[in-house]
């Protein structure tokens, strides 16, 4: 759907997913990395644990569908080539610290003045202006300052993060959305604009209005381990963990009734629970002893069953229970496989075939999809620089000077 648009992608790992999204929606995304490869993004773990920049699994995962060129922006000749690439581009996507691109003459103000149709998207930890615009932060510090960390974890231990960078996952689609909005506006105005994305601000959305609710009520949640509010959300199964909410509401009470019926068929529903009057159930009004009684009964039952059995029964009985999957369980999930979520990409020079998640939505009539593997180092130098009139000899000379 974005075909016909060209994106120059200068992002570090915090923005890699944004360029991937635009590429899989159809844009021509050119990832620009320093000669020899971007060592930070081409990091471990490596394919078959053999180190090498072209074997970086994070790179292979997050740079799909892009083309790749090398260019040393620190050299004047490299900066000049970037300006020529920008003349033919619609979007620049970058994650540089304030002032870094300006110092080499590639600041957004200068480039946008030169090319008024250019959309310039900056993804930074706190946004491009303001008292903390120069603060440094990776995922952990963003999640801390975005409010999610303080309420995640156990009360008797420090706050704890997700071991994968969820701050980047929340910002990438907002950045891509901002780019799409700016391109849409350009259809009428003929002018590009700046898109300023704050990782911290995107991260606040994970609270689903929690801070705004606190502003009114003065009541903030504390770290509650595997609980959501007062009631348990994570439960032990015989072989792992499942999620199940002891919450009510019209949409949820039938699932509590179905859970008790399932327990009863197994001969494991206590009498009081079998006879419980669910019409009166409101989880907001349960006393602590009542909650403990429910949790004892459901918890004892779940511990007798495997994650798989509980999930199969949940599907059959419309119980709101799901397994806490690891990577293997995700990749083997029958629904995801039936939907053909996974696509296999070939890496013949590495002797590997690797499954990737394909695009997360089926879009008709113009599907978005993973369109190709991540680029090798400088893989598309010849074709991209040829568009600037740089032939093979000139390219070799640039390579000799370390520009590409």
């Amino acid at each position: 759907m974005l075909s016909g648009h060209r994106v120059l992608d200068l992002c570090d790992e915090s923005g890699a997913l944004a360029g991937k999204l635009l590429a899989e929606l159809g844009a021509d995304v050119i990832r620009i990395e320093p000669p020899g490869g971007d060592r930070a993004s081409r990091r471990g773990p490596y394919l078959h644990d053999q180190p090498g920049p072209e074997r970086s699994l994070a790179w292979l995962a997050l740079q799909t569908s892009k083309r790749g060129v090398t260019l040393d922006l620190e050299q004047p000749q490299g900066a000049s080539l970037f300006r020529r690439l920008a003349a033919g581009a619609d979007v620049v996507l970058e994650t540089a610290r304030r002032g870094a691109l300006e110092a080499i003459g590639l600041g957004s103000d200068a480039l946008r003045a030169e090319h008024p149709r250019l959309v310039w998207c900056s993804i930074t930890p706190f946004g491009r202006t303001g008292p903390r615009a120069d603060w440094l932060a990776g995922d952990l510090v963003v999640v801390a300052m975005g409010g999610n960390l303080g309420v995640t974890g156990d009360p008797d231990r420090p706050p704890v993060r997700c071991s994968m960078p969820t701050a980047y996952y929340h910002a990438a689609p907002e950045a891509a959305l901002g780019v799409a909005m700016a391109l849409l506006a350009r259809e009428d105005s003929g002018r590009g604009q700046g898109v300023d994305v704050s990782l911290q601000e995107c991260q606040l959305q994970t609270l689903l209005s929690g801070a705004g609710q606190f502003a009114r009520s003065g009541r903030a949640p504390g770290r509650a381990g595997g609980r959501l509010g007062r009631t348990r959300e994570i439960w032990a199964a015989a072989d792992g963990w499942v999620t199940f909410g002891l919450r009510g509401g019209a949409a949820r009470i039938p699932n509590l009734v179905a859970t008790v019926a399932y327990m009863d068929e197994c001969g494991l529903a206590p009498d009081w629970l079998r006879d419980y009057d669910w019409a009166q159930f409101n989880h907001n009004e349960l006393s602590d002893p009542e909650i403990a009684r429910f949790e004892q009964a459901f918890g004892a039952f779940f511990r007798t069953r495997s994650m798989r059995e509980l999930y199969e029964q949940a599907l059959a009985r419309r119980i709101l229970l799901a397994p806490c999957n690891d990577a293997r369980e995700i990749v083997e999930h029958p629904q995801l496989r039936e939907r053909k979520l996974f696509v296999t990409l070939e890496y013949p020079e590495l002797g590997a075939s690797i499954e990737h998640p394909d695009f997360f939505a089926r879009i008709e009539p113009r599907p978005a999809r993973v369109r190709g593997r991540a680029p090798r180092i400088g893989e598309h130098n010849a074709e991209v620089y040829a568009e600037l009139g740089i032939g093979a000899d000139a390219l070799e000379a640039l390579a000799g000077e370390g520009v590409v």
């Binding site: 999204l21 773990p45 999610n148 974890g153 689903l208 801070a211 009114r216 999620t243 799901a322 998640p357």
Partner: protein, 392 residues
């Protein structure tokens, strides 16, 4: 604003659907929610006790996630209610966004293939837990299950303890931004070609797609990454350390030797091999941070070029000077709940920044504007719809 003039009809409930259209509403689209007191959005009652004084209008969560929108009350259990929705699609809407369980829209005759007959260039997004196809599509689910199935719970917490979710239900916060992106891309495509689109989005797949690295690591190396507390595979020290006061913490994530030397200088000690014994490294950093105040220490470390920041409470988020600079919080009076702190999204467009100017709608607040002004019904006809429990 970018979506000024865009007409969006929204059906569904909860967070995942409504947050997606909030991006459009913030940037000028007119978003009309179709709701009914016969089967209210569960966010209108979530967290409320039986004696909550304002009934369906008393939920701060519903209010905070739906600013700038309008509400028409139409009971989809009645043929006339459905007929009015179809008229809104045929005569008014550019976009339909829904997040019902698969099959619900079809039951009403409102699935994409029917609506496209009424509006050939319609852009429609259907976003539910598992998507519109596949053997488990009818599994009734909320974000809690989505977060677990997509793998986020397994990856969050301490290796020696049960998993946690990241706070909130992460597929509910992730998937709406993916829906909004797909809608914006489809609108750009329509602007250039005149062609509409249907977007069948799975909230779980949006989560798994985000975790592409996890899938690739499993497929390539057979590895199942585990939750690791705050430990990082490549960085150290990387943790959350205690500070002076009750439940006060600083997050520090050192990314380079240069930053490590700066941190050691601040600690007043010689740099040591920080990777040799990560537990010892963490213990020594924690002993030092415990003597300091979280924000002051963060400011000091940032001045030295070390990535560090306080673990902010909800109260601190409301006072955060950077968020204030960004205009993140927008105070608007809600007719029932009073002054509320609404939130803008994380993107600022230089020429057309979004604006929040209206609180969330009361249920059916815009019946006259929608049924009267848009569909031409007179007051008597609207009153009859209300009396017949069609507009309710």
């Amino acid at each position: 604003m970018i979506f000024r003039g865009l007409k969006v009809l929204e059906l569904g409930a909860g967070a995942a659907g409504p947050v997606a259209t909030k991006y459009l509403a913030e940037h000028g689209a007119r978003v009309i929610r179709v709701e009914s007191s016969k089967r209210p959005d569960f966010l209108r009652v979530l967290f409320l006790g039986k004696d909550s004084p304002h009934g369906l209008e008393g939920s701060p969560m519903y209010a905070l996630l739906n600013p700038n929108k309008e509400s028409v009350s139409l009971n989809l259990q009645t043929p006339r209610g459905v007929e009015l929705v179809k008229r809104l699609v045929a005569e008014w809407a550019d976009v339909v966004c829904e997040n019902f369980a698969p099959g619900v829209m079809a039951k009403f005759g409102l699935e994409y293939d029917s609506l496209r007959g009424l509006k050939p260039d319609l852009v429609m997004a259907s976003g539910c837990l598992f998507g519109q196809t596949g053997p488990q599509r009818r599994y009734p689910g909320f974000g809690g299950q989505g977060s677990a199935i997509a793998g986020f719970n397994h990856l969050t917490g301490w290796p020696d303890r049960e998993p946690h979710g990241p706070y909130g239900t992460i597929t509910d916060s992730l998937s709406p931004r993916y829906v909004a992106l797909a809608l914006a891309a489809a609108l750009l495509h329509r602007r250039r070609t005149g062609e509409g689109s249907h977007i069948d989005l799975s909230q779980i797949e949006a989560g798994v797609y985000s975790l592409s690295e996890l899938v690739v690591r499993y497929s390539a190396n057979g590895e199942c990454p585990e939750r690791a507390g705050n430990r990082h595979e490549r960085l150290a020290p990387h943790g959350v350390y205690p500070c002076r006061g009750a439940d006060r913490w600083i997050a520090i994530g050192v990314e380079s030797d240069e930053q490590w030397r700066a941190l050691c200088e601040a600690m007043g000690c010689e740099a040591w091999d920080r990777f040799a014994d990560p537990d010892d490294t963490d213990a020594r950093v924690a002993a030092w941070t415990a003597e300091h105040e979280a924000l002051a220490l963060s400011e000091r470390l940032q001045a030295l070029g070390v990535p560090a920041g306080p673990v902010q409470s909800f109260a601190e988020l409301l006072e955060d000077p950077q968020l204030a600079h960004r205009g993140h919080w927008v105070r608007l009076p809600h007719p029932v709940l009073g002054d509320l702190a609404f939130e803008r999204c994380g993107v600022r467009l230089s020429d057309a920044p979004g604006v929040l100017e209206k609180p969330a709608p009361l249920l059916g607040e815009h019946n006259t504007a929608v049924l009267g002004d848009l569909l031409g019904l007179d007051a008597e006809a609207i009153a009859r719809l209300e009396a017949d429990e069609v507009a309710t």
